[in-house]
Assembly symmetry: C2
Homo-oligomer: 601 residues x 2
């Protein structure tokens, strides 16, 4: 179903929104999917959406007990009290009246749970408060514009009525970017872009598409695929996050080796700001047109305006896609392999290397095998550990996704085989590779599962030059262990790292960190403190503040460590100049908040 | 000669500046190189620097006569009156005194010709005024800082003494970017970065280098090559332009298919601004750290601060480099070949396609052949025109540079051979390919040569999606012919196009335009008017304002056609916010000038 416009571009029909894909308000992901543990200690995954859905996993719970070195009684749950007490809406009747005229019928809500949902992302602290405490300040109204014109009218009305606007995409950030400043006295209005999710046009010859900012990754990929194209941008949150959110946070996709990161993919951005709509009359392949406000929206995290659409590069669907996995005897060997891969070959679309602990975790996410399958698994294990001599407590796995022409992929496969051999690698096959990638989406549900069992855990990431990768990983693990011990954290913390992106200059390292907190006071404050310790260690070890998660409010305290005072002053002055009333008052980074050094507005 | 720092990085010794490489003040390029025409009509190229140096070219002059359809008497010269009257320096004694304390001995100058040189780039109008009229306003003082600390002190002193600062790199812009606002009443100080040209460190493992902004392309490439590396950035001006200038103008290099454009190469920028020094504590492979002022310096064209150094990606020297050339029966066929190359292969490091007129020009830049060489040339011509049936008035040439591993280059060569066949192409060999590229540097000297013979000519460029390439080239040629005819321009204008860059989404088209102006009144005004007609036609045809030359003052009148009012307001407000006193008052784009809508400062 698609029309053509005067320039021969495809104009896809708007797709009905899928009512089956309902998302949870209180935990990560879709409502139909969750981990639970049975009385016998077997973990069960509900639903049918993911490869692990419907499976009973006997090994996970015992493994968690062992790794965390705590007893972890199955029945001892920390039950969610969701919904928490939700602060009453501070209505701005003048704005509300105007908004209702601007918007379609029913395209707004004051429902407390919806307001709450628009006031947080997915940091540990937010999810904890949601279940066991309360979030102090949340949006007072949620609006659902359907066009850029409606957004522009809302912005004009907000200016007139002194309302604070917060753009809302997928709500998947892990940086407290959606947390409302507690002292915000204006009415806070979340501008939810979920109804602006259309692909406006696809140019099949020049390989561009214009897409509304609220388009969610999974839908936009599916719709482009119907026409034979892909954007190639697949962050781990691709099921829920949006094009606008990717731009606002400098997102990175798993397959960036082939398709690039978000800044490489976006040719043009339209954005409604306090000064009006920043847009262009056309977008070219590449330009030198002086200062370019479109580019400044990258990393703006909701503080400068509402991104409404973008022109992006698209790619024909690859001829072939192959998965693969390679086992290495150690993390060091795996990193050596990745390094050589960037030096001597074109890395496949995606290459990821998990450390031993994460490799173990992935092994526990297999169902109980019996008969021939169990035998096969046992033989494989024997081959790896006895014949090849891999130490189960040291070995690691690298998963790969190849995309491209038959010839490109074949060349890459040859290079991978050659370099894997050099580093003592052993092919583990396409099935394990596919499984490794698919686990990404399932694993995201673990955070809320373990939280019910007194475990707080989340991810954080960094980028770091090659020469410092190993030391950085070691330092962070050692530092967290020491800090946890010093604070009397029960058992052992869980700290694991994976390399998720490779560059010529270095890599992205992605950590999971968790600990059992029963008996500890103020566990989320402790988690935040420990995460700051980890970040301190990362910066000391030559890592960056963030590779793709961004800054939000969670990491803004570190900004003075990485930017000179003048660099921070530039950002603050720019914010003041283009949003003098602090209309977009979500106060991420050091922008528009009192913490920026002087009052905003 | 290189030390190592504590992190194992190479710290190259500062190189003595080469006294033999003296540049002209009044024309493009090195003093040792120029075109002249002898009484017999043979053109001679002086010096020994370029492949065409020392050669006598019998065909160029007759060809010019034919193409321009004017008589062009050899002896009828329009002799340069250089140096023109140079406005006296408006000294700011307070600043001068401080500057002398800040700077090394002799690191400043009030010499009129040097001041003049720092007040222009290389637009036709500037070069014409230099020789035949005068430039109204030029810098009053030239300073040569040797470190970022000195730049910071100069900026502080300039603020105290109300002086206008203009960063100066290679002086090669073609956008009037260095033209001083005639009504600037403050003392104007050119900050010449030529003494800040060191490579501060090379990280051979992480493939990064930190380089001062005044480093000139040819030197920095040579110095990196001594250590086995390349930056891979080769704009046509690489002999003279600087790293800082590349960043400030969004430069593009010929070999961007392999190495990327300047925005792809730069990991970090240090810049001294009115608010202080914008810098970072470290630079990572890729980051998401919120608003990032470093990125805003791209395209700033001297209006926001003085770029002092950058951390860039570097690459090991390629295993192999090969040149090649392919002839096609028509420009259409050549564009078809390029399109398929982006779709079905990885384009070689550089691919360029000249149209028929430019192909003819390149043929006239060959010396008189005799004996076996003449025979060979005649036979080649016969083969092309008689056997293959190529029309000498339609055929075009594509030149290619391959760089990479033996395998990569071999694959690319196979793809080129296959796709060239598909589009009726005929290999013309490595020699012709190499010659085509090397001509780039020699051809730059033609502008001043023909200016002495009453011909005004320069280049302009754009980027455009694939589907509009052919129409855009035709439209511009037709429009210029019509506009010249309507204005009584003698003979025929010279308009020629080449595709210099390919992207998945489109190409960069580079035009040369020239005409004989003897007898016309106000020829440079006419040139500017005609160039504006061409730009209007480019924008109507779906092209961009610029692919890599930038905006400066030459094209700023078109900014409201491509940016929404709010986008322009953003840029103006940002300029005002970070440079409230308009310290960097060179007034490019619509920044800091009265033309920006309201007075600056």
């Amino acid at each position: 179903m698609a029309a053509q416009d005067a320039e021969g571009r495809i104009v896809p029909e708007a797709r009905p929104r899928d009512a089956g894909d309902r998302e949870s308000l209180d935990v990560w992901g879709f409502r139909d999917s969750a981990f639970t543990v049975r009385e016998n200690g077997n973990v069960f995954v509900t639903g049918s959406r993911y490869p692990i859905s419907g499976l009973e996993l006997p090994e996970l719970w015992p493994w968690m007990r062992r790794v965390l070195a705590v007893e972890l009684p199955v029945a001892d749950t920390h039950d969610s009290q969701y919904p928490p007490e939700i602060p009453p809406a501070r209505s701005n009747p003048g704005f509300r009246r105007e908004a209702q005229q601007i918007l379609a019928d029913g395209a707004w809500s004051e429902d407390p749970e919806l307001r709450l949902r628009h006031g947080h992302g997915h940091t540990v602290e937010e999810m904890y408060l949601l279940k066991y405490a309360r979030i102090e300040r949340v949006p007072d109204l949620v609006v659902y514009p359907e066009s850029e014109a409606q957004v522009a009218s809302l912005v004009a009305a907000a200016t007139r009525h002194d309302v604070c606007l917060v753009p809302y995409g997928g709500g998947t950030n892990v940086t407290d970017a959606l947390r409302c400043p507690p002292d915000e006295e204006r009415s806070i209005v979340a501008v939810d872009l979920s109804r602006m999710d259309r692909i406006l046009w696809i140019d099949p010859v020049n390989l561009m598409a214009c897409i509304e900012a609220g388009a969610v990754g999974r839908n936009l990929q599916a719709q482009l695929a119907e026409h034979g194209f892909t954007l190639g941008h697949e962050p781990d949150s691709v099921e829920f996050s949006t094009l606008g959110g990717w731009i606002a946070t400098y997102a990175s996709g798993m397959k960036k080796n082939r398709y690039g990161n978000i800044e490489d993919l976006v040719l043009d951005v339209s954005v409604v700001t306090a000064l009006g709509t920043v847009s262009r009359s056309s977008s070219g392949p590449r330009e030198s047109v002086g200062l370019d406000p479109r580019r400044w929206l990258f990393g703006s995290e909701g503080t400068l305006g509402i991104i409404t659409s973008a022109v992006v590069k698209i790619f024909p669907q690859p001829e072939v896609q192959h998965y693969d996995a390679v086992l290495f005897p150690s993390f060091e060997a795996g990193v050596g392999f990745l390094f050589d891969l960037t030096r001597e070959a074109r890395p496949p679309a995606s290459v990821r290397l998990v450390d031993n602990l994460q490799f173990q975790l992935s092994q526990t996410l297999k169902p109980k095998a019996s008969g021939a399958r169990a035998l096969k698994r046992r033989l494989e294990k024997l081959l790896v550990t006895r014949v090849r001599g891999f130490d189960p407590e040291r070995m690691v796995a690298c998963t790969l996704v190849y995309e491209g022409s038959v010839a490109e992929v074949r060349d890459q496969q040859h290079a991978v085989a050659r370099l894997a051999r050099r580093h003592g690698g052993m092919r583990a096959g396409a099935d394990n590779g596919r499984r490794g990638y698919q686990l990404t989406f399932g694993i995201a549900y673990l955070r809320d599962f373990v939280m019910r069992h007194w475990i707080l855990g989340e991810s954080f990431e960094t980028s770091v030059p090659w020469t410092r990768v190993l030391a950085l990983c070691d330092n962070v693990k050692r530092r967290l262990a020491a800090e946890c011990a010093a604070r009397g954290v029960p058992g052992r913390p869980f700290v694991t790292a994976r390399v998720t992106q490779v560059y010529q200059t270095g890599v992205c390292v992605y950590f999971y960190f968790g600990f059992y907190h029963k008996g500890l006071e103020q566990p989320v404050e402790l988690y935040a403190e420990l995460e700051r310790c980890a970040r301190d260690e990362i910066l000391r070890s030559g890592g960056s503040l963030s590779h793709h998660h961004g800054v939000g409010k969670l990491r803004r305290g570190f900004l003075p460590r990485i930017f000179s005072p003048a660099a921070l002053a530039w950002s603050s002055e720019v914010k003041r100049a283009v949003d003098p009333g602090n209309l977009f008052g979500i106060a991420n980074q050091l922008l528009g908040a009192e913490s920026a050094g002087r009052p905003a507005g």
